[in-house]
């Protein structure tokens, strides 16, 4: 097996300063928000790599960088051996871009209500002048809808059916990699099961690779081969699925697991985690988790822990072992 995506020290900084004039009048400094900071990981071909973390941890930003919707500030994204930042051959970049598609959380917002389903699904291919004869009909059947649905409008479908339409559109250009940003978060559990099963089937049938973004640990446990945990824009732990769930090494990962509601934990009384995610514009010094970490020592507030490898796990914590 080889890596189809290689991400190295990926960093993205957003300028979230107030307008220049306000800054001058109110004597405010420039405000820079580091949404993604020195993140490195690799995704094996035909595998599912999941990114988890709480709101604002940088999951969507990484997804958007990988599909090319947001440029990185620093670092490198290499897809199928092509470095998207330095490659000079435009046709190579275009070929790689066509191999990556994205599915978003909200199946309502991401479909144009005035277009027929056929036009929606064919659009990515039609835009490149490709042949779309029978394409939408074939894809609709592949995602468990019917060819007849091609003539309908999005409002005629339920949430789960719309997410299938989004998946059909993502498949239109025959991609190898799909970045899924919370693909089932807006769906009911019974509908979620249908969509997740479809994604598993497509992975097997078409040999797809997924970058799977989610905050739902049970969904990630079901889908992922390898999982990266993000906190305030940094990767704090990465491990194969069972490794991570059986023996989480980073105190933040442990906190996430403890806090997640469990369907088999009737009347469980847990001491809920303390504090909140800090302000991303002025993150804590040293290890960004130290104000909330139950085992933090003095060193943690001064020195940022480097990513270390322990067995199959990579973890950024001074005390992890």
């Amino acid at each position: 097996m080889s890596a189809i995506i290689k991400i190295e020290s990926l960093t993205r900084v957003f300028d979230v300063s107030k307008p220049w004039l306000n800054r001058v009048i109110e004597r405010l400094p420039k405000a820079l928000l580091t949404a993604v900071s020195e993140v490195s990981f690799e995704i094996e071909e035909n595998s599912v790599y999941a990114l988890v973390g709480e709101s604002g941890s940088g999951k969507s930003t990484i997804g958007k960088i990988v599909v090319g919707l947001v440029p990185p500030s620093k670092g490198k994204v290499e897809v199928e051996g092509v470095d998207l930042a330095t490659e000079t051959d435009a046709s190579k970049i275009e070929a790689v871009r066509a191999d990556i598609q994205m599915i978003f959380q909200d199946p309502y917002a991401s479909l144009n209500p005035r277009w027929r389903v056929r036009e929606i699904i064919n659009e990515p291919v039609a835009a490149k002048g490709g042949d779309t004869t029978g394409l939408a009909e074939r894809l609709l059947e592949q995602v468990g809808l019917s060819a007849k649905d091609a003539a309908k409008y999005p409002h005629e479908f339920s949430g789960g059916q719309r997410q299938r339409i989004c998946i059909a559109r993502a498949l239109a250009s025959g991609p190898k990699i799909i970045v899924c940003d919370e693909p089932t978060s807006a769906l009911d559990v019974s509908v979620q099961a249908q969509v997740l099963n479809l994604m598993s089937d497509l992975r097997k049938d078409l040999g797809l690779t997924y970058l799977f973004i989610s905050h739902d640990l049970t969904v990630v446990h079901h889908m992922a081969d390898k999982i990266g945990v993000l906190y305030l824009g940094r990767l704090v732990e990465e491990a194969p699925r069972d490794r991570l769930f059986d023996a989480p090494k980073h105190p933040y990962t442990q906190m996430l697991f403890d806090a997640a509601p469990r369907m088999d934990a009737f009347g469980r009384e847990v001491e809920p985690p303390k504090g909140e995610i800090p302000d991303a514009i002025n993150p804590p010094t040293g290890c960004a988790f130290h104000p909330r970490c139950p085992i933090a020592v003095e060193r943690c507030s001064k020195e940022r822990p480097e990513m270390r490898r322990i067995g199959e796990t990579r973890v950024a914590c001074h005390l992890a072992e």
Partner: protein, 332 residues
């Protein structure tokens, strides 16, 4: 032992919406009680009628939806007949509401302190200073650090999780008997969600508040609720103690819902799925509304009248319930 009067008693509640294509029933013959210090969880797919039921109880149905029959009793007193000012006063005094989006419950132009003291003074006979002290106490109660110095902040100066705490403080400051929490943690991160759920449980236990907790998260239900009501297409599908309903569902829909969660299928490549989708309200099948998707459907299920809790075993609205004793004996 005499049964205590429940804080909330909903009897055969029907909510209807007149439309061009006929009358829809988003809430159809729903009955349940909630006792002091009890959390009733309400689950079901989007559109099942969970919010409609809660809104009907607090008298906040949006037109054209309206209650057309049934009764709602608060500590034994009929409240579905109240209107206008009388309803508004009773609602503020005896019922607190927490919605998914904290911003719908907060006025962005007033400080948190002003909103709390206003609510307290409207419903409790206390002076300005006492009201402010109570407001600070309410904020401390819900875990806002440095409440005394944060009380004069505006809602936008708080984070999402902190705002939801403020809403909870607002819902509780007039010391209500009943709290309706409609997806109170859905927009929040797991760590904040765990904090809010722990807070609701503690307040329920310590103050004896009756809580109706609407959520689609089975994990939250398992950890917080005492009993759970499962809704399907405007009707109650199942109602019972949370552990029994989640581990040994009587209604095939509940069983399907549980089986389709990733946790239940751990280690399996595919998740169990319920075929199809919940029918639209204007297009409900005859008999049991679940029959087109049900593995156990028989002729009787397709005939009217469909099963209700009352006409079945009181636990599940199903002619052929699962996990019942008799059945186990037969299969054994």
């Amino acid at each position: 032992m005499t049964e205590k009067t429940p804080v909330l008693s909903v009897r055969n509640l029907v909510v209807e919406i007149p439309t061009r294509h006929g009358i829809l029933r988003p809430v159809d013959n729903v009955s349940y009680d909630i006792h002091a210090g009890e959390i009733l969880g309400v689950v079901g797919e989007s559109g099942a009628g969970k919010s409609m039921t809660g809104n009907a109880v607090v008298g906040l149905l949006d037109r054209p939806a309206r209650i057309t029959s049934g009764e709602i009793l608060l500590s034994g007193q009929h409240i579905h007949t109240l209107k206008g000012e009388a309803l508004r006063r009773l609602r503020g005094k005896m019922m607190g509401m927490i919605f998914q989006d904290p911003l719908t419950s907060l006025n962005p132009l007033l400080t948190v302190g002003d909103q709390l003291t206003e609510t307290i003074q409207e419903h409790l006979k206390v002076g300005q200073t006492e009201a402010r002290n109570r407001a600070i106490a309410a904020l401390e109660e819900v875990g806002i650090p440095a409440a005394r110095s944060r009380i004069d902040s505006y809602p936008h100066e708080f984070s999402g999780g902190m705002r939801q705490r403020v809403v909870i403080a607002l819902a509780l400051c007039a010391e209500p008997d009943l709290v309706i929490a409609d997806e109170p943690t859905t927009a929040l991160d797991v760590s904040v969600q765990a904090q809010i759920v722990a807070l609701l449980k503690r307040l329920c236990r310590e103050k004896g508040v009756a809580v109706m907790l609407v959520t689609h998260d089975m994990g939250v239900i398992a950890e917080a609720a005492d009993r759970v009501a499962v809704m399907y297409a405007g009707r109650l599908a199942e109602l019972g103690p949370v552990r029994e309903v989640l581990t040994a569902a009587h209604h095939p829909y509940t069983a399907g819902l549980m089986a389709s969660t990733p946790l239940a299928s751990q280690g399996k490549e595919r998740l169990r799925q319920i075929p199809g989708a919940m029918p639209r309200l204007g297009n409900l099948p005859d008999g049991c509304a679940f029959h087109p998707r049900c593995d156990y459907a028989q002729d009787r299920c397709r005939a009217n009248p469909g099963p209700t809790l009352d006409t079945c075993d009181g636990r599940a609205a199903c002619w052929f319930p699962l996990n019942t004793k008799q059945k186990d004996e037969v299969s054994a």
